[in-house]
């Protein structure tokens, strides 16, 4: 991005506020100040959440509620709202809301940011904080009959649990009872269904052929990832888990999210050589992930299992082969280490470069094929153009990121806006389409593959010329990492699906005190009802496909 960076940052220059200016803006609302590594933190009372967030949103331009972290501390419960600006994500602020131990109730932020809906339900489910004024305070990830809040301090994991399996009732039936023409019908899609991309349950209410209401019911793959990470040591034991969040081969992208947060937390440098390898590997992953997204989208829209899906898998297979050479694994790479990567490029290097170059060389032709088969196909066009519309303001309000947001015309990409790795020094573009529909989200992914290919090509050129005795793949990292007590950090990277952020609070030991994953799919999936209410069922399936969700990342 280096070539265009000055110009874009000028055109996008966003007013910066110093920490004190923000404190002045918030005035009496602030009852304390904190300093997190990523941003200043303001402590507020639990009954002034909406006021504070709307001030920050409307007056200071923090229009992106990227994450909500809830936690039980020794003497209090705490919710932290991480806010950013879509126009400049390097400007961040955290709003800390402590509540008392015996009555953990805090005001809901849902009226200010729609995305808070699910985030707060999750905080209630896992930690046990209640949000006053929330429209629908239910469990979201765990079964409704679950007893206790697993990330709270007094939770007994050995305790038996009873999980019910019920018929679902039609939520709209009452409204329509006396209207003969619009009988609504209730339809369950999933959790075992070929079109849901995994174990997702959609509770749909149909009015004739149209979707009157859809409620995504998640939690069928909630694998306790946050707990697993909190039980692992920083240095080695956490790294295998990120691979399993967005498991569509986006492993290295996810690993980078953890690596970035932990490295900044523990002040670890990464050698430049390793950064180039990371960048290359991550983009290969992005290609593999987008390929599957495109293949399954075609499968969703016109059931094409024989051509496009197979083509997509063929190209994914090539990317996976290269990644296997690089990392030693096909899917769960576990390749990053704090401070670098685990090993150098495979020997003989020439062969590796050649293989990768061949892949890149064949890619344009393959993409041509896809464009013929998919984007140039009239049937697909008439099925996807103008369906599943997600206006930019709505997308922002829901905290959607990645291709979903860029397909709605918002120019937001952390690789450029909050640079990390080697992206700054490379020449590539952020793809933005302003159709806001299923088609433009598809188009964004297809074009991003080209950009990723450009990045990989440049990385290879750089790696090839790297002097042999300066190939430093890892910096010196202490054997055990013990970041200082009470340091907090939130860092995000641009994953295949969008902003993948990690919040860590260190508690002075070699394991994190709180490890929170902000997954892009979780926020993206929330937009599904917005996109599909009033549409036909198959268009809803297409919208779901265009969101490209991975349940491993939605549920974590």
């Amino acid at each position: 991005m280096s070539l265009e960076r000055p110009e874009t940052s000028e055109s996008k220059s966003v007013q910066r506020h110093s920490a004190d200016e923000l404190a002045d803006l918030l005035g009496d609302l602030v009852i304390g100040r904190e300093e997190h590594i990523n941003a200043p933190g303001y402590v507020i009372r639990p009954d002034s959440v909406q006021e504070t967030l709307s001030l920050l949103k409307n007056e200071a331009g923090f229009d992106h509620l990227s994450c909500l972290t809830a936690e039980e501390r020794a003497d209090r419960y705490e919710s932290i709202y991480h806010m950013k600006k879509f126009d400049d994500p390097t400007q961040e602020v955290s709003v800390v809301v402590p509540t008392s131990k015996d009555n953990p109730v805090s005001q809901s932020a849902e009226p200010v940011f729609r995305t808070a809906d699910w985030h707060e339900r999750e905080a209630y489910d896992l930690v046990g904080i209640e949000y006053e004024g929330h429209p629908d305070m239910r469990r979201i990830l765990l079964p409704e009959t679950w007893q206790g809040h697993p990330l709270a301090k007094d939770y007994d994991q050995e305790r038996p649990q009873v999980v019910s399996l019920r018929e679902h009732a039609n939520p709209l039936q009452e409204d329509h009872r006396d209207d003969q023409d619009s009988e609504t019908m209730y339809l369950n899609i999933g959790p075992h269904h070929p079109a849901t991309h995994g174990v997702l349950h959609l509770e749909c209410t149909l009015d004739g052929e149209q979707v009157a209401d859809v409620n995504p019911d998640i939690g069928y793959l909630h694998r306790c990832e946050e707990q697993m990470c909190q039980n692992g040591t920083y240095r080695y034991q956490i790294m295998p888990y990120p691979d399993r969040w967005d498991y569509i081969s986006a492993g290295l992208l996810n690993e980078w999210a953890y690596a970035r947060a932990a490295e900044d937390l523990a002040d670890i440098e990464v050698p430049e050589y390793a950064q180039v390898i990371r960048t290359m590997g991550a983009e290969l992953c992005r290609i593999a992930a987008h390929m599957l997204a495109v293949g399954t989208f075609a499968l969703d829209v016109y059931g094409d299992f024989t051509a496009i899906f197979m083509y997509a898998i063929r190209d994914r297979e090539k990317a996976q082969n290269i990644l296997e050479d690089l990392t030693g694994q096909r899917l769960m790479f576990n390749y990053f280490r704090l401070g670098g990567v685990v090993w150098d490029l495979p020997e003989p290097r020439e062969e590796f470069f050649e293989k990768t170059r061949d892949f890149l060389e064949e890619l344009p032709e393959a993409l041509e094929e896809y464009h013929d088969l998919i984007t140039g196909n009239e049937i697909l066009q008439s099925r996807t153009i103008g369906t599943g519309v997600l206006p930019p303001e709505v997308a922002k309000n829901y905290g959607a990121t990645g291709p979903v947001l860029r397909g709605s015309g918002v120019d937001y990409d952390l690789r450029r806006d909050d640079p990390y790795g080697y992206y700054e020094n490379l020449d590539w573009n952020v793809i933005v389409e302003d159709g806001c529909d299923n088609y433009s989200r598809l188009l964004v992914r297809m074009k991003e593959v080209e950009e990723s290919a450009k990045i990989i090509e440049q990385c290879i050129d750089i790696l090839e010329d790297w002097p042999e005795d300066e190939r430093n793949i890892q910096s010196n990292v202490p054997r055990t990492l013990r970041p200082e007590d009470d340091t907090e950090i939130y860092r995000a990277v641009e994953g295949a699906k969008g902003e993948l952020g990690i919040y860590i609070r260190a508690d002075g030991t070699e394991k994190p005190g709180r490890f929170k994953i902000r997954s892009p799919c979780f926020s993206n999936l929330q937009t599904l009802p917005e996109m599909s209410n009033g549409e036909y069922v198959p268009d809803m399936i297409a919208s779901l496909g265009s969101l490209d969700i991975v349940l491993g990342e939605v549920d974590r």
Partner: protein, 232 residues
């Protein structure tokens, strides 16, 4: 064969003629080693059970069933490079009613287990289960999680376990081929009652948890009970 002697037929001649006609000529698509061995007779004798087992093993309909990361490798197994179809086991069926093999590819958590059991119950007999990956075997990397079932075996009977995280497509192909071999030999794991079955809530032993939930849950509701302390 001469036509003026209608009632006397030279068997050996007929055999050979038919055979030659089949073996030679432009179109010999239908000739196989098997055909050669059988001659012109279209009949073979075998035990019906044996035959059925062979049939079952040679045309398996797989349930299209994806749970977690392992299902990505499962998709690769169905697709171009590995092509499970070559082994007579690659027709993915979207409905459990049409399938006789279920590959369980991933982590099973408490909310999903009753649903999976229901899908399994809906499959027609005889049915077989392939457990793919460490999660399906034991809970894998998430074994210590508060929500994770420690293996599919806790919910449904599994015929073949394929270790790995995820197993490579080659491993899955091998596992499926092994399963076919076993089915053809008439071996499969007996369906036994497993520790966690769907039960009616009203029939559960009354303990603290059941008492707590008694008001929320209708006694006719189906429920599944998880006893984390006693599971492996």
């Amino acid at each position: 064969m001469s036509s003026d002697q209608p009632f006397v037929t030279d068997d050996s001649q007929v055999l050979t003629d038919t055979r030659d006609a089949r073996l030679a000529g432009a179109d010999n698509r239908f000739n196989s080693k098997l055909r050669e061995a059988f001659g012109s007779s279209p009949f073979i004798l075998t035990k019906f059970d044996k035959f059925m087992n062979w049939v079952r093993g040679s045309s398996m309909f797989m349930l299209q069933f994806g749970i977690a990361c392992c299902s990505i490798e499962m998709m690769h197994t169905y697709a171009v490079k590995h092509d499970l179809d070559r082994f007579g086991a690659g027709v993915p069926r979207a409905s459990p009613r049409q399938a006789d093999v279920i590959i369980v590819p991933g982590t099973i958590v408490s909310k999903f287990a009753p649903r999976m059991k229901r899908v399994y119950d809906q499959m027609p007999e005889p049915k077989f289960v392939v457990g793919m990956g460490s999660c399906t075997i034991s809970g894998g990397p998430f074994q210590e999680g508060y929500n994770v079932i420690k293996g599919a075996e806790e919910v449904i009977p599994v015929d073949i376990h394929i270790p790995g995280c995820p197993p490579r497509p080659e491993a899955l192909v091998y596992g499926v081929a092994k399963l076919q071999e076993r089915i053809a030999n008439g071996e499969s794991s007996p369906v036994v009652v497993k520790p966690y079955e769907l039960e009616q809530f009203g029939d559960l032993e009354r303990d603290e948890i059941v008492d707590q939930l008694a008001e929320e849950i209708d006694t006719d509701d189906l429920v599944m009970r998880y006893n984390w302390a006693d599971s492996p």
